[in-house]
């Protein structure tokens, strides 16, 4: 049917410019979500079900070389349902986004009930097949979940300046001004791109066990991307982020760098320009002394401590994708309780501290807890979820998250970090006769079980007789993970947590924000350079 002009004019008048999907909508839907999940619990052989319903309001803009490229304001609502059902209980899952017209309690009840039906049917079909295959595959087991406290709680978002009150025009102006300023520093800046978004998220979690958790958080992030090149030279590329789970104040200086986003972007641009004049770092065939700064150690902690201590990797669920963990071959042969790092090194994962990995409850409704991963060099534990905690016989520590409500939660890092030490970083460098200072992370490539890494740095400096001397470009370090961790002989007192916004894991791949960091470290590694 084609609409008449009159009909369209009427529609134009009736629809307000701003979307009607707001996070406050959750208040009107709690009762409905609770009812639907209770209904799921009454289905035959349904052992467990949970519903996550989330609303995401965001504003964004981006600009390139001082020219506006786009801006917008969006709000979305989506849900995900997990059902554990069948004689030999198995999972079934269903997720969907919802339109504005479906956000009244009656419509929500209908779409959630249909979702339960789909997830339940999949769980039952899966459980039946599991039972059928048991003789061929004896380790097939009914799912059991580690017990958690049932919680009813409301967590409010934290911000000084509400993202919802920031005008789109202001966001765009920041992007055009900063990217224009970056480009005009020097003719060798070939490309300057700025992307900013700020918003608020609210997610409701209700389970058949009686949990009802309503959590909100704000997120503001600015991304800078710059390419600089001397005539005839190889381009030098840098991208980096400022971000935190706070409001617009993040871009004004309330961030780990303690500087405005504009100053941060100009600093990165000047550093990139400086690198275009630097020599390429020569690679070494033998390990050398390296001092790695907190920004570099954020990615190092992420790759060689965080990922291999995720319980789903440990239990081989990521074998086909993100890989396994060299820390756990099987229940009899693993590194738990063994020395895997220098006694100077402690590492932990803690959602209670500030950073991109902060939350009170994970997406299974488990209170997030600090997990001591490495204590004085000894491997102590893994980040887990309820199912994996039950298999491992560990207490659940609340590390399950999904990028969006319609995705399945998987084990994710929280704020996963090297603990602070007690040595002044200047002193750590001053003690080095011959070595290299590895400054700010760039790109990682890690072995399948995280037993070896190569990570490039934004900058590498020579250290000679305790002094930082020559700057090199296109450098980085490579080492076997255990060797690097065991060789750490100094831990700084300059601990910081940095935002890592793009950790990819799962199938379909989910890109998650996590917090990573640590203090300055000193160890041994081979240098890598331009091939």
């Amino acid at each position: 049917m084609r609409y008449t002009a009159l009909c369209i004019i009427l529609l134009l008048r009736r629809i307000p410019i701003a979307s009607r999907i707001k996070v406050e909508l959750i208040d009107t839907l709690k009762e409905t979500v609770t009812k639907v999940v209770q209904h799921a619990g009454s289905l035959k052989n349904c052992k467990y079900a949970d519903i996550r319903l989330g609303i995401h309001e965001t504003k964004y803009a981006n600009a390139e070389d001082g020219k506006a490229k786009g801006m917008g304001e969006d709000a979305s609502i989506s849900f995900g349902i997990r059902v554990l059902a069948g004689e030999m209980s198995a999972w079934g899952y269903y997720g969907q986004s919802i339109g504005e017209g479906e956000t009244n309690p009656k419509s929500i009840h209908k779409v959630l009930t249909l979702g339960i039906k789909k997830a339940y049917a999949r769980a039952v079909a899966n459980a039946n097949k599991k039972a059928e295959f048991k003789s061929l595959a004896p380790s097939l087991t009914a799912v059991s979940l580690a017990r958690i406290d049932i919680c009813n709680d409301i967590i409010n978002a934290v911000y000084d300046e509400d993202p919802r009150n920031v005008s789109l025009k202001d966001i765009l102006t920041i992007c055009t001004k900063i990217s224009g300023d970056m480009r005009s520093i020097c003719k060798d800046v070939q490309y300057a791109h700025i992307n900013v978004h700020t918003g608020i998220n609210r997610e409701l979690f209700c389970s058949t066990e009686g949990s009802c958790i309503d959590q909100s958080y704000t997120l503001t992030q600015g991304m800078v991307s710059v390419v600089a090149q001397k005539p005839g030279g190889i381009p030098e590329v840098c991208y980096d982020y400022v971000g935190d789970l706070r409001g617009w104040e993040v871009l004004k200086g309330k961030n780990v760098y303690k500087q405005s986003f504009g100053d941060f972007a100009l600093l990165r641009t000047r550093e990139t320009l400086e690198l275009t004049e630097a020599e390429f770092l020569p690679a070494t065939t033998e390990p050398v002394v390296v001092v790695t700064n907190p920004h570099f150690n954020a990615l190092l902690a992420h790759e060689i401590v965080g990922h291999p201590t995720e319980a789903d990797r440990v239990l081989k669920l990521e074998t086909a994708y993100a890989g396994r963990s060299w820390l756990f071959r099987d229940f009899q042969d693993n590194e738990l309780g063994k020395q895997i790092a220098s006694p100077l090194l402690t590492a932990y994962s803690d959602p209670s501290i500030h950073g991109y990995g902060h939350f009170k409850y994970d997406m299974e409704g488990t209170p997030g807890k600090r997990v001591n991963l490495i204590e004085n060099g000894i491997l102590r534990g893994f980040m887990n979820g309820r199912e994996y905690a039950a298999i491992l016989g560990h207490p659940p520590n609340g590390s399950m998250r999904a990028t969006k409500p319609h995705y399945v939660p998987i084990v994710r890092m929280t704020n996963t970090i090297f603990a602070n030490g007690n040595k002044n970083p200047e002193e750590i460098i001053a003690e080095v006769k011959e070595g290299y200072y590895i400054v700010n992370h760039r790109i990682p490539s890690i072995s399948e079980s995280r037993e070896n890494f190569r990570i490039s740095a934004q900058k590498v400096f020579r250290i000679e007789n305790g002094k930082i001397t020559k700057l090199y470009r296109q450098g980085g370090i490579t080492a076997d993970s255990k060797d690097f961790l065991m060789n750490i002989d100094a831990v700084g007192n300059d601990f910081e947590v940095f935002p890592i916004p793009n950790c990819g894991k799962g199938q379909p791949m989910q890109v998650m924000r996590v917090g990573n960091g640590g203090p300055t470290l000193r160890s041994m590694a081979r240098l890598t350079g331009h091939q």
Binding site: I15, K67, Y93, Y94, Q96, P235, L317, T319, A320, S445
Partner: protein
Amino acid sequence: MIGLETLRDCVRNGIDFVKKQKDVIDAEIFASWNEHITVRLNYTSDIPCNGVHEPKSTQFSGIGLFVVFKAGKEIKVGFGSVPNNVTTKGVVEAFQKARKNKVYDPDFKSIPVPMEKPVLENYHDPAVMDISDEAIVDLGWRGLKGALIEYNQKHFDKSIIVGGDITVIKQRMAIASTKGIDDFDESTVLTTNITSMIENERVKGTGWNTSTHLASFDTEEAGRASAESAIKTIGGERISSGTYNVVFGRQPVTDLFTNIVIPALSLSSVNSSDTPFMGKLGKKIASELLTVYDDGTIKGAVGSKKISCEGIPTGRTDIIHNGFLVGFLANNYLSRKLQNVFVSFPPRNGFRYHNGGRNHNIQPRICPTNVVIEGKDEVPSHSLLSKINDGIYIGRIWYTYPINGLAAGDFTSTIIADSYLVKGGKIDKPLKPNTVRINNNIADILNNIIAVSKDKKQTIVWGGEEVVLAPEIAVQGVKLDSISGFIS
């Protein structure tokens, strides 16, 4: 599920509406419905497990509207989108957002204009569109069965891991514009990637299958192949660091092209000056044996589409011909923006792929369809080994990244499975997985190609959107480093 007629009505009615707005110069309306189903496998013989860990799906639909507005003497452009409301009311709301979001972008030239006629028609599988929950679950268990039976028959029942997934993608879209584009597309994609291991032997094998139709989709064979490959590589040996002649199997070829070569051959990398091929158009960038093109019209290939998400019929875009750089993948925006810098490239690769679907709420970016790699004087696969004589056959690599940025061309990766030492032109012994890191520059790899196989297979890698019709490729002088000495 939303039908094609609903999507077509929405975009056509939407164009009627937009044309009546006084400040509108041009507009393009995109509407889509997508379902992405994944059945994740996880079997571990020595750890309690689920076999099929979870059958899951996400579904999303909506409208994306791009509008060119008159704004005094300037033109401004705006984009607005609305989820799960494929109606004229949804179009009106998206239009209001586009008007509110409009900006002056001096690089914008025009929305796409109609070109050519589509090659593919009616190439999806209705049976996939209607697949039941039970059938989805069954696909997963069949994949697992293939691996387990192979292991049982070869008497392996301990330390077994079988992982991976079966993915079913259903996509429907319609697009209409004030420039005269009025078309639709409907596609179904089935893929499985299964990885299995005998962990105490430290061996891993890979099996995969792709199809557009359920009848020719064989998850059981993928499972069986993964187990067979793992068993074959028992007893692997380490190699010392050095420079080797190498045959890259289909998965490594796909990995290198998906993560390094194809991103560098996109106009988006040219736009950001982040490609090693900047200024190389018309110049030799690879061995004369290598030809590469993108072709979205190949029947039965899972990267094929009737039209792009800009309404442009898919087709063949030549990228490398006999070693010479002859083109870049393009969408409408960058093709027009950069047409004064380069010759204009046909904008056949503007897609809105996101979360496994053609997503209404993003604007088209440049995505490959089917990347076809061909060789001059192609040889049978078995002849590749004699081309390198002594060296390494690399069957699977992992975590391939442009470690110093794409423009530098440096990349690194580790060899994780399906690999062998080659001696006297024959497979000699298996290579121990996870003990070798590749450290090279992509320019060296492309220039040092010495042979390309005739046999090709549709191959995909984790996180990749494109399909590579991948041959095996022999390359001389590849730098390999021995790693992970502490692993016994």
